[in-house]
Symmetry: C2
Subunit: 140 residues, 2 copies
Amino acid sequence: MKNMQERIERLKEKGIVLTIQRLAVLEFLVENCTHPTVDDIYKSLKEKYPTISQATIYSCLELLRDAGEIQELSIHRDKACFDPNLRMHHHFFCKQCEKIFDVNIECPVSMQGWFDGNKVEEVQAYLYGVCEECRKKEGG
Amino acid sequence: MKNMQERIERLKEKGIVLTIQRLAVLEFLVENCTHPTVDDIYKSLKEKYPTISQATIYSCLELLRDAGEIQELSIHRDKACFDPNLRMHHHFFCKQCEKIFDVNIECPVSMQGWFDGNKVEEVQAYLYGVCEECRKKEGG
DNA sequence: TATTTGTCAAGAATTATTCTAATCTTTTTC
DNA sequence: GAAAAAGATTAGAATAATTCTTGACAAATA
């Protein structure tokens, strides 16, 4: 359950109706911090709610993203994935196992809010490489 | 012409055949540093080379990217765009005019090569916000 | 209860990208 | 230089992620 209660409060304050589907999507993300794709979420929720449609997943994700409750990552260019972690952080993508890890490095770029005269509202940084685990496997 | 000659040398050294189409794609990118999409490139080259096909643009871009001559950006999640600038740099996307600017900020994350035990081979950082020009327009 | 407003489902439509098979070019071999 | 082989290009079909549309449904309001 974690911080679900807080999140629900925040959404209610914003006047967002918390339907079963919306809660299910949010809850799934909070409990599965593996940066799932739309399809991952759809397949999993379909088991519990067999009538749910993909379009609903898309619309719930869009709503939650616009409400600032989740982040949309474009670490792959062919599909979106989502992260319920609201703290400022970046992401590492392993080219071999394709897992995505959170990266908690403080980066000056992200902290500023400004770059020259341009207002920076959001920062996404993606590191691509090979994770420790995969490197170990390779090595032996 | 700029650094085309150097680029051509590098590609030849790698044993890459420099067809008219490949050169045209590379040249277009070098002369249009506006981070064009596949479609931008296709539409523009089609005027000069009416028989060129989209698949050729995709394959040239893939080849040039894999040869390390250009960078592929996933700043939009709905379409790729390309950058011939090989120096380490990041990108700013204006949500209003949708222009993409290069950002020359040195970021520790990018310099390291490592994050915990994970080997970092590439870094892409995207700043999203409103550019100076658009803010000025808004203001008055 | 009747009305209004907002949400959901299902599938069609759209769009970027990849695949395929045929054609054309270039390179190699004789 | 001609023939064969290898590689590149084309055009269009196929695929896959995402968005749109429309009607059905549910909740909130009067």
